[in-house]
Symmetry: C2
Subunit: 170 residues, 2 copies
């Protein structure tokens, strides 16, 4: 595949990923404003854009096996937490922008946790263990197995967590 | 907010949106390979990345009202369908890449439909009407109110549709 076509597919992947996320934010706003029908529509179109973006990614490159994907995800996490968010934090600190600084520092802390999660999950596959996960809606912190009293990263209360519960073997 | 900080927030938004979508693709692969626990982990971390990306977007710019968001989404759809995908299609056609061509042309057709959906939804708000939606998992086509026999854009059978059903007023 030549570079121009690769660029087109990459642009489609990134454009659709951005659109899907933006539409989910719009859905939350619509829900808060009392338009559940509009919220659903935004979510439906976000889902449609995700299908386009995922398809562009799959045409662009062969997706590896789960083992390869885990390795790629590990590496991406350490890059993001260790490099990008630290640089971003410095910029926000210099500018004295509290909201941006808080976002970057909490995101960095959460990303650091993702690497551990991948490791535990890989061991879970080996041990045939099933984990449950709880995600903080405020900062994205992921707790494994036990729902925290409050978020250890941003302090949000327990009712701000979304549960992803695994079926435990009997 | 100065440009450097705006760039950092924008990079965080785009990076997290890309990561979230990539992780969902990895989740599908893990499911297909028979690793439901890994699939759940990828989905959980994708959700966490979406929270980061959405937060970066909200720090970057004030999100408007639902009416403004609808207008922005309309405009974005017509740009994507009318310009970007047509250009991409030409590139894929010239290179003779069938998979890319099919992806771009079907995506363009689906995006054209989104504009109509936004219009209908807006009328639905006015009329207090509740729509159900059905999304084709292959090409992202969105059907309103009735589940099609097969996808009019890509020909996928009915069992490839995901339902988003609204609660109809009694």
């Amino acid at each position: 595949m030549d570079e121009e076509l690769r660029n087109a597919l990459y642009k489609a992947y990134v454009g659709e990923a951005k659109a899907a996320l933006r539409l989910k934010v719009f859905a939350d706003v619509a829900q808060q404003e009392g338009y559940p029908q509009m919220a659903r529509l935004f979510r439906v179109i976000a889902f449609s854009e995700e299908i386009h973006g995922a398809r562009a990614l799959k045409v662009l490159k062969n997706i590896g096996t789960t083992e390869e994907n885990l390795k790629e995800s590990f590496e991406s996490e350490s890059r993001v937490a260790g490099v990008a968010y630290n640089d971003f934090m410095k910029i926000a600190l210099e500018r004295g922008d509290k909201a941006a600084e808080l976002h970057f520092s909490q995101s960095r802390d959460v990303e650091e946790g993702h690497e551990t999660l991948y490791k535990n999950a890989l061991q879970g596959v080996i041990q045939d263990r099933t984990s449950s996960y709880y995600v903080c809606k405020v900062c994205g912190y992921v707790a494994e197995d036990a729902l925290p009293e409050s978020c250890p990263v941003c302090g949000a209360p327990q009712n701000q967590f979304v549960s992803f519960e695994g079926e435990r073997p009997g």
